[in-house]
């Protein structure tokens, strides 16, 4: 005979306290900025929600979408900015220059805006090899050309040796909102489906291995690419049924799912067996004790849409280069709000929580 385990009043009360704390806007109480504040997890959230948003107090920022909105005489524009800090500057599958273009292009694209133009700020370290810089500028030009955006403004600064890891790049981008869809992080409804545009974890794993800190070699390349073609295909196939899209960069797919589950006050269930992971990435993650769901991608998007649009959307997505492995990985539910659950390949369930700090390799 089966029955539910009894829950005492006190336990119920504690669960209530946790639930309330989870739903609350994060406070920022740290004395210093540490690396966790940049990792895309809870610490980042506390910095953004606890210090930046309340101080800057802009309506568009509060949406916490990948790009903000500006309206100019009836034309909807999207504006996005991002800084690129990566070591090493070149890695299998890409370089900092390609990231700087694709990253901002993708933030605009997943916000449902066609990228139009970028600005480029370079922070260069004294002593940087001019050839290295030249090859990055060429990479930026080529990537911008293939993404269909122009670099229309720029700035250069040089800092003393020992700063800036060779170079930092900041790009800002402007795009035109596409009329085919109205997207919002808070638009998710129970029953919506979750699509993923391809296999996960490649960029972050490639970088980790390229740093040479671990004695591991594997044929893994960064997936950096423009997502506008994928977004364009999705808008065409499922425009009005699209609720929201995100590119799963820092913090990986897990962070995207958690942010949106919170923003829309819904639950999500993801089927582990349906999440594509390249075998080399799976192997490296296994050895390093890292979950690929939390690893950064630079050319993968997660899309949320109404169930009847799934087949059309998938067919359209799979015809786009780089999205051949696109698939449905789960769905949006009602309970428990704000939580992401995983149906494991082994048949159990677990919670996919937000990252607390950096995804650090574990020893035990």
């Amino acid at each position: 005979m089966a029955s539910h385990a009894p829950v005492s009043d006190r336990e119920q009360k504690i669960l209530g306290i946790i639930e309330t704390a989870r739903g609350k806007r994060a406070k920022f109480r740290d004395e210093h900025i540490n690396m966790a504040h940049g990792a895309g997890g809870k610490a980042t959230q506390s910095l953004i929600e606890g210090m930046l948003l309340p101080t800057l107090a802009s309506g568009s920022l509060l949406e916490m979408a990948d790009a903000g909105s500006v309206e100019v005489e009836g034309v909807g524009l999207a504006l996005s900015t991002d800084s690129y800090v990566v070591r090493p500057l070149r890695f299998p599958g890409g370089s900092i220059g390609e990231l700087a273009v694709n990253g901002t292009v993708n933030d605009l694209a997943v916000s449902g805006a066609q990228p139009l133009a970028l600005s480029l700020s370079l922070v260069l370290e004294e002593g940087l090899d001019a050839e290295e810089l030249r090859s990055e500028i060429e990479a930026i030009a080529a990537t911008a050309r293939s993404a269909g955006v122009e670099i229309v403004a720029g700035d250069t600064k040089v800092v003393e040796r020992g700063h800036a890891d060779g170079m930092y790049i900041c790009t800002s981008g402007i795009g035109r909102r596409d009329p085919r869809a109205t997207l919002s992080p808070s638009a998710l409804r129970p029953g919506d489906r979750i699509l993923l545009s391809g296999s996960i974890g490649e960029h972050g794993t490639a970088i980790m291995l390229a740093r040479g800190e671990f004695d591991l070699a594997a044929p893994i390349e960064s997936d950096t690419r423009s997502l506008w073609p994928a977004v364009d295909a999705l808008l065409g196939a499922a425009g009005p049924e699209l609720r929201c899209m995100r590119d799963a960069t820092r913090g990986g797919v897990a962070s995207v799912l958690n942010e949106l589950a919170r923003a829309s006050s819904v639950a999500m269930v993801v089927r582990e067996a349906d999440v594509p992971v390249d075998p080399a990435v799976a192997g490296a993650s296994e050895i390093l004790g890292i979950d690929p769901l939390y690893v950064a991608n630079e050319g993968k998007l997660v899309a949320f849409l109404a169930p009847d649009a799934v087949d059309r959307a998938l067919a359209a997505l799979r015809s786009v280069e780089g999205c051949e492995a696109a698939c449905e990985i789960g769905e949006v539910r009602t309970e428990p709000p704000g939580m992401v659950l995983m149906q494991t390949g082994f048949g159990g369930r677990r919670v996919i929580d937000q990252l607390v700090g950096d995804p650090l390799p574990r020893i035990c």
Binding site: A2, A5, A217, A218, G283, R362, I363
Partner: protein, 376 residues
């Protein structure tokens, strides 16, 4: 590495076999009885969450997460000592990634890094030795933590440092041993456990024999188990079978890796490089005799604690923290006075909240959801 590198484990993750074992577990329960077993090793806890194994068990089979997370058991005073070393001029302080978040009395190594200490994450002590070799002008200190699983690699690294004559390398040894804390738990009069899932990784080094005192002295079954989901379910079946048959012994589920007598070579190397400390403090469990390792006289010149003066101050666990009781299975995480209020995953007080796999952190994150399981 590549596809073949991970494929060999798939057979231990077969969902159909998992369901069959879950059925077997269900069939071997005495109706109305509540079973509590402890998985000693943090690696097991990790697998249990990763695969959702808890979710395949009836609610009256409860897994208690034991003291075997090597990161979480390091007390605040030791973290403070590590930070003090890391702040020494010229020192490159190296440690495993998951050690960086563990709080000391005034922040973690991650915080110290933010304040300017040169702290680097390594994957093995040999990586730390490599940094020493490549930066002869710096002093490289390795923060050695872990049970008998990681102690042999530290020992071998120290031997290599000696052999290569690398003088700018030293080690802050916080290795611990598995048997004393288990004995301390078992000695506790309020312990509520029916059996133990024995630590597979540690046992590859020490063997299964050291756990014989558990059935002999305390009448509890022990099954040394591997880390794949089927290993863990099978170990639970084996423990339940012992209980049903009134047997009580050490069984080895993980024979494909664990020799009953352990790894003689690893034990020899450890004996050469380390000696037992008279006592060592464990976060949440207090001082336990002969439970920690220090660097032996023969290798004293590579001992960071002798090379530098560390504060060595004991920082008491916060009074309100009841991690000890949680570890013994006496109280549930939510019954602790500070749980969910003063002690949360973002600002942990006790060991059980430090690691995401600690019993309290797990309950904080998954508790509401775990209530949906059913009781037989």
């Amino acid at each position: 590495m590549g596809a073949a590198g991970v494929r060999y484990v798939d057979e231990f993750r077969d969902a159909a076999l998992g369901r069959a074992l879950a059925g077997e577990i269900l069939g071997s329960l005495e109706p109305g009885r509540h079973y509590k077993m402890m998985e000693v090793c943090g690696g097991h806890t990790h697998s249990i969450y990763k695969y959702g194994i808890d979710d395949l068990l009836p609610a009256n089979v409860e897994l208690v997460h034991g003291p075997g997370c090597p990161v979480c058991v390091i007390p605040m005073g030791r973290v403070d000592d590590g930070i003090a070393l890391a702040l020494e001029e010229d020192v490159v302080f190296t440690c495993f990634g998951d050690m960086m978040r563990v709080p000391g009395s005034r922040g973690s190594l991650l915080d110290a890094k933010a304040e300017g200490a040169d702290i680097r994450m390594v994957y093995s002590p040999l990586d730390a030795l490599r940094i020493a070799r490549e930066s002869p002008e710096r002093q490289v200190v390795f923060f050695a933590i872990g049970f008998e699983t990681t102690a042999p690699s530290t020992a071998l690294t120290l031997k290599r440092a000696r052999a290569e004559g690398i003088e700018n390398f030293s080690c802050m040894c916080s290795h611990v041993t598995i048997v004393p804390p288990l004995r301390a738990l078992l000695e506790s009069p309020d312990l509520r456990l029916d059996g133990f899932i024995g630590p597979g990784h540690v046992s590859t080094v020490v063997g299964a024999r050291p756990f014989e005192f558990i059935p002999a002295d305390y009448r509890k079954p022990v099954v040394v188990a591997g880390f794949e989901p089927l290993d863990i379910l099978q170990a639970i079946v084996m423990i339940l079978r012992q209980l049903a048959e009134g047997r009580c012994e050490v069984e080895n589920q993980y024979t494909r890796v664990v020799p009953y007598e352990g790894n003689e070579r690893a034990l020899e190397v450890m004996a050469e490089v380390f000696e037992l400390r008279p006592h060592f403090e464990w976060r949440g469990l207090g001082f336990i005799s002969h439970s920690g390792l220090k660097i032996s006289e023969a290798y004293a010149d590579l001992d960071a604690e002798r090379r530098y003066s560390v504060p060595g101050l004991r920082v008491a666990d916060p009074k309100a923290c009841q991690c000890g009781e949680v570890l013994k299975g006496v109280i549930k995480p939510w019954e602790c006075k500070v749980f969910g209020t003063a002690c949360t995953p973002e600002r942990p007080i006790g060991t059980c909240m430090v690691s995401s796999e600690g019993a309290c952190a797990a309950y904080y994150n998954y508790g509401r959801f775990a209530r949906e399981r059913e009781v037989v």
